[in-house]
């Protein structure tokens, strides 16, 4: 069930990943692996992680996202975390979570704007 629930969509030279609402650890780890494979396969220059449906962002999730951002950065890509809902933002902040060098956007539209506005070759790591 875990692997099927993640889709990595190639959108021109970007990747769009929609994170399922309540992913288990295995799904989150699989997500990281798929993203890195797709980065290389499609020679993507950026990643949008749509977390708008995510209800629980705990320390494992945050650590994996931060790692993924770092890895994507090393591969020359930028990551935008899009759509974090208010309750998750409050909880993540109180818990002390950070998501590394990810850019953030209110929704996927704005995330795409952000990545398209960035000069190619821009790095965030």
């Amino acid at each position: 069930m875990a692997l099927e629930s993640i889709s990595v969509i190639k959108l021109r030279d970007l990747l769009l990943v929609t994170v399922p609402p309540d992913p288990d650890d295995e799904t989150i780890s699989a997500l990281q692996e798929r993203v890195l494979q797709a980065m290389a396969l499609y020679e993507a220059r950026g990643l949008v992680l749509d977390i708008s449906t995510v209800q629980t962002l705990d320390s494992f999730f945050a650590r994996t996202v931060a790692e993924t951002v770092q890895m994507v950065g090393l591969m020359g890509g930028r990551t935008v975390l899009a759509g974090m809902c208010a309750s998750v933002a409050v909880t993540a902040t109180q818990l002390g979570l950070t998501v590394g060098n990810a850019l953030t956007a209110l929704d996927v539209d704005r995330a795409l704007d952000l990545l398209n506005a960035a000069p190619s070759g821009a790095r965030c790591v």
Binding site: E26, S59, F60, R63, S87, V90, T91, Q94, L95, G96
Partner: protein
């Protein structure tokens, strides 16, 4: 709302972390907690369930509704027979971890909840009790 609601949930596999979140989400929502508090409580439960899975392999989560002095709340108890916590004071410090965590589990959980009580005996196990009260 007067009759106490309670239940328990066994944690034995990684997938139980997700299941425990569902149980806690339903219990907190039924008690009338708002979305932000539900998210806080569920996230705290996720951290504590993962602690059990990683450090003790298995354990039990009990939950019950509280009704004290006209206050309504939710109490979650996480019990395991794992290795125990050697230095509780240190475990409550930000950034300290003996495992592969971020070291923000326990202090983070304390900030998310209203009350946190930990009892731990090395070699015997750990019990963590957390409570959140419904704001009027």
């Amino acid at each position: 709302m007067n009759e106490p609601h309670q239940g328990e949930f066994c944690i034995t596999s990684e997938n139980d972390i997700v299941m425990a979140r569902k149980v806690v989400r339903d219990a907190a929502t039924a008690l009338g907690f708002g979305i932000t508090d539900v998210t806080r409580i569920v996230t705290a439960a996720s951290e504590l369930t993962r602690n059990i899975y990683h450090y003790a392999k298995s354990g039990v989560m009990h939950w019950r509704s509280l009704n004290q002095d006209a206050r309504v709340g939710l109490e979650l108890t996480f019990e395991d027979s794992g290795p125990g916590i050697v230095d509780l004071e240190k475990a409550m410090e930000m950034g300290f971890s003996t495992g592969k965590g971020l070291g923000m589990g326990l202090p983070g959980v304390k900030r998310l909840m209203d009350e946190l009580v930990i009892e731990s005996t090395v070699g015997k196990g750990t019990t963590v009790v957390v409570r959140k009260w419904l704001k009027k």
